[in-house]
Each structure stands twice: as C-alpha cells, then as structure tokens.
Amino acid sequence: MSILDSRITRRRFIQSAGGLALAASPFATTHVFAQGAPLRVGLMLPYTGTFASLGNAITNAFKLYVAENGGKLAGRTIEYVVLDDESDPAKAVDNASRLVNRDKVDVLVGTVHSGVQMGMVKVSRESGVLSIIPNAGAGAATGPLCAPNIFRTSFTNWQTIHALGKVMVERGHKTAAWISWKYAAGEEMFGGFKEGYEKAGGKIVKELWLPFPNVEFQALLTEIAAARPSATACFFAGGGAVKFVKDYDAAGLKAKIPLFGNGFLTDGTLQAQGAAAQGVYTTLHYADSLDLERDREFRLNYAKTYKLQPDVYAVQGYDAAQLLHIGLKAVKGDVKATKAMIAAMEGVTIDSPRGKWKMSRSHNPIQDSYLRQVVGEQNKYVSVAWKALEDPARGCRMA
C-alpha cells in the first residue's frame, strides 16, 4: 500500500500549499460544482488478509463498469481513494472517518466484513455521506440501522439461505441438522434458514456450533451421524468451507445425509474442494451458467480485462457502480444534491449480471434466490428457488 500512501501524502501537500490562496476565495467553503471536476469515490475494502480476493473482485468490477462508461459517470471523472480496511473492526471507524473527513470522498463504497461494516455504518449515519455496501450481509445495516444515505447491492445474511429450507423439504428432507460457526453471521444465517425450513414443514433435530474460526469438525460430524437427520444444512465460507466439505465427504456422510448450504460454501473454492463438493446443492443470488445476455457480456468483459473469472463479489461491486451511475445521472453529476440522488436510487431496478433486481424500501436488493448444484468446478444454475426474495428488514423505520 506504499504507493497509495505516497499518493495521498502528495495530495495533502498540494492541498495545504493551495490552502493560502483558497482561504480568501469563496470556492473554499461553498460547494460550487464544476462540470468535469473529479468525483471522489472512497473504496474501503480488504486488500490483505482472508478477504483480500473479495476486496479485489469488488474493486475490479467497480472500475470495470466505470471504464465501460469511458472513465466517467454522468460527466464526472471518477477519482478513487483506496483504503485497505484489513477486515479489522477495531480500525473501522477511524478508517471510514479518515476517508470522509480528511480525504473528503463524495461516495463511500465498502465493505466485506460485517464487523467493519458496522463501524462504517456509524460514520455514514453521522456524516450523511452517500454509502454503498457491496458485500457485508449484516442485517442491521438495512434493518435497525438503516438510513436514507446507506444502500446495499449485495444481500442480507438472512436472504442468502432463507430459500434453502423450502428446497430441502421439496426434496423430501423433513428433518435436518444445522452446523455453523457461532458468531454474528452464523447466527443470522441460522435465523434465516430456520424460519424458511420450519415454515415449509421441516424440523431441525440437531443444532451444532463451533467457535469461529475453529475448523476441527470431527467431533461434530460424529454427532451428526449419531443424530441421523435426513439432511444437513450449514454455513461456512473460505478455508473453513473447503475443510468442512472435504471432512463431511471423508466421513462417509455425504452419500447418506446430503449436504446443503448457502452459496458461500462452494463459491470461489471449488478447485480446492475437488470431488468432495460434487453434487452439493446451495442457494445464492448468483450462479454459474445463468442464461442471461447481461451476464455473458459482463463475464466476457471481466475476463478480458483482468484475465480472471468474475464471481458473485464482482457482480455486487459492478452493481454498486451501476447504482451510483443511476443516482448521478438523475442529478447530472451534482453529488451534493443528496436528496434528489437518493430519491433516484430508491426503488430503482438494476439490470445486473445476476438478473434484474429492485431496490427495497430498506435499501437492500429484492432479488431471485437461485438453487445451484456443484458440477465440476461450477455452481451450476438449477432453478429459481425463490422469486424476488425480500429481506424482512425488521427494525428498519424506512420499510
């Protein structure tokens, strides 16, 4: 990040050098908007640590959309202020304040980690800066803490797994064991699953939890075998997901007690999971081999630009840029016209690579939840598990 730091430092120098001249000028205090003046987008995302690949995918796709529009959105050149949040909640408030107060970003985009997101939401609510969440699924951000200036282009944890219960019951699995990490996201996922599964007539016969990020699953796999449910539902992600899927298969459980989960179980790590993941069903708002023109076009452009295949995180980053563009177009690039911009972004329909989705009143996507199955190294689209699934946004005053 040293290149970045030096850039920011240099800018600070120029600002302070110009400070004297500006002090006497009315331009320094009143926000006079000049057509073509750069719009500052703060990208506060993880670029190191476990979530680095997610942060990079979101950044890549955001920049791809801007580049596709000639580097400008609604006539404004986009200037990025990039900050590595290290997925460290302890630094979240400081980092977000730095972008808003010191670097004077016009829009705050981020982040991946829900704990960091809570810090950013606090800063967004206090400063009123327009904020777009491209991943973190903490329900509170569009629930009890929802705010007019905070939008999300990804999902709530609840939303990713709510449709799974219905899918499992339809496939004849009336009893299930649940296993996940015991932390905020895991508990929100469980809430979403339980609600959907019990409503569909299923019964959770065993709840199993591990401390986050423990990956010693053997003891709990033995418990699943002893409880004899018809199927297992779970939430794991990243390295832990790979190990869980492999251990579940090696313990001989997969053939007897089929494994289900939300998409994070198998997204981005299928190469590492190999044969163990074959046939596993998951739900998520994106899938490989979606038959959509918008998706094909996006995937091709992304692959051409970055020599990488895009994933669900890239789609969410791309949509964050699309959403910003819609807001900016409505006010002809004048980002200070916050009210008009928010009005344009509310209730908008985004033509996303994941399929069209609508912004809910709590500022979270109302989107289709897809059922996918692992085939080879793809999360292959099977069907729409739940059409236009909307987060209940409990506790949000705008909903």
Binding site: Q218, V242, G268
Partner: protein
C-alpha cells in the same frame, strides 16, 4: 452417550491431540531448549502447508513432496537462525517477541506474493484416499489414522533422540548451561542452529501432513499458534513427554467440550489450562 459413538469421539480426540503434538513439539524444542519465544511458529506451519500444495503439483507423489518440503524447511530454519535468531539469545524475551512477530507479517506478505490469497486443497495421497466404515453411516478417513501413526513415531523418535543419543545429551546440556557446554569444546552455535532448524522442520512437517485433511489458506498459521503455546505451557516448557500428554489432553477436552458443553466449547481448552496451571504452575512435566 451411545458407547460406539463415545469410542469414536475418543478416537477423534486422540487423533486431533496427536496432530497438535506434532505442531507443538517444534515449539517446545525451540522454547524449552533455546529459550526463544517463537511467535512465527504458526507461519512455519503455514509455509509447510503451502509447500505441500506446490510440491505435490510439481511432483505427483505426496511422500516425495513431503521429503523435499522437510529439506526446504530445514534450510529455511538454519538460514533464519544464522540471519536473525542468533543475535537474540542473550537478549530479553521482548526482543524475541517483537522480532518473531515481525517475521509473521513478513511471511504472510511473502505468502500473498508467492501463492496469492486463494484457498487451495491438497489431494490425499494415492492409496490412502479411502475411508473405513465405523457405523452404518459414519466412516473414518484412513489418512487420518496414518497421520496419527506418523505423529506417534515422531514423538517416540524425538524422545529417543533427546534422552538416548549423544546429540540429545549436548542439546540438554546446552539448555542448562550454554557457557559450560561451549568451554567443553562443543560448537554451541551449530547446535542451536540445528535445534532451530529441527523445530522449523517439525512445524512445516505438521503443516504438510495436515494439508490434505485441512485446506491451505491465508492465516492458517495463526490458528495453530495459540493452541501450540497452550500445549507447551500445560506440558511443561521444553518437555517432549509433557507436550505429548498435554496435546492428548487438549485433543480430548476440545472434542468432548464441543459435544457436551457446546455453549462454552471455545473456552474448554483454556479452562483446562487454567486448572492445570493452578495445580502445577510449571506445567505437568516442567521443572521448577
């Protein structure tokens, strides 16, 4: 609890404990004999896992990759000792903590540069990629049993080396009185380099063996670092026998903690540590 399930849980606990022993044994050597607090131990575990990933890709045979990985780890260990560690023996523990913490950051960054931030998997060695049925719906992965056997063999080998060989005698003597050993004409610098390299190799070996059943991912070393220190402290600093007993106790406590008291599963191991340290502050086999 059903008796069959109970026995399977005991097996789970012992198997986890043996793997913990393998990771912690290198730490207890370096900590107990050289007096170095090596926070970078988890990084060596991670490097081992990534080496297993790269070397099995280069050469299909897992065991050849394992042997090559151990050689590389010994070289890394010896080089690090020569480059930085040897300047710290006479210094305060704080310097060691700072330096080895710095090494963690360096190794994480190097890992990111060399291997990227993706999660990888390593295939279970050919011939061992099957499971033994235990009950009608639960099987046990053969490779896990093989890991346990290797861990036991290493435990025995280390005990024999330290207690029964001339090299072990020199290592033990060096731990007690560095100057005296030196004045007897033994090259203590070389001896320490050897011990450090061995400690690094043990951590890397643990990472390599665990790679097929675990997965290979950024930050994996940090997860084992703390539990390794717990093993070393409970067992008694520098005691290989103590590390084995402590690792097995932790393996069983962790397993049954998750099953019987899931609400506090994350604390069980630390409660055990607190209880043992209240009873014996120097650890089970530690000298006062």
């Amino acid at each position: 609890m059903d008796p069959v399930i109970f026995l399977i849980q005991v097996l789970n606990g012992v198997q986890y404990g043996l793997l913990l022993f393998l990771v912690a044994s290198g730490l207890t050597l370096i900590f107990g004999i050289m007096g170095i607090i090596n926070l970078a131990h988890g990084s060596f575990y991670m490097i081992g896992a990534y080496l297993a990933f790269s070397l099995t890709r280069l050469h299909g045979n897992f065991w050849v990759a394992l042997a090559a990985g151990v050689v590389i780890a010994v070289a890394i260990g010896a080089a690090l000792e020569w480059l930085v560690m040897r300047f710290l023996y006479r210094r305060d523990h704080l310097y060691q903590v700072l330096l080895t913490y710095g090494l963690i950051l360096i190794f994480e960054e190097l890992r990111s540069l060399v291997w990227g931030d993706d999660v990888h998997g390593v295939a279970v060695p050919q011939g061992l990629d099957f499971s033994i049925p235990l009950t009608d719906n639960l099987s046990y992965q053969t490779y896990r049993l093989v890991i346990s056997a290797i861990c036991l063999a290493i435990a025995f080998g280390m005990y024999w080396m330290i207690q029964r060989t001339r090299l072990g005698m020199m290592i033990r003597a060096g731990a007690v009185n560095r100057e005296m050993v030196q004045s007897l004409g033994i090259d203590i610098g070389l001896l320490y380099r050897l011990v450090f390299a061995l400690g690094v190799a043990l951590a890397a070996l643990a990472g390599m063996l665990a790679a097929p059943v675990s997965s290979v991912f950024p930050g994996m070393g940090n997860q084992v670092l703390i539990i390794s220190f717990v093993v070393v402290v409970i067992g008694g600093i520098g005691s290989v026998k103590g590390a084995l007993v402590a690792a097995l106790a932790i393996g069983l406590a962790d397993t049954f903690g998750k099953v019987l008291v899931p609400q506090i599963a994350g604390m069980v191991v630390y409660l055990l540590m607190a209880a043992i340290l209240l009873w014996r502050p120097q650890g089970i086999f530690g000298r006062t």
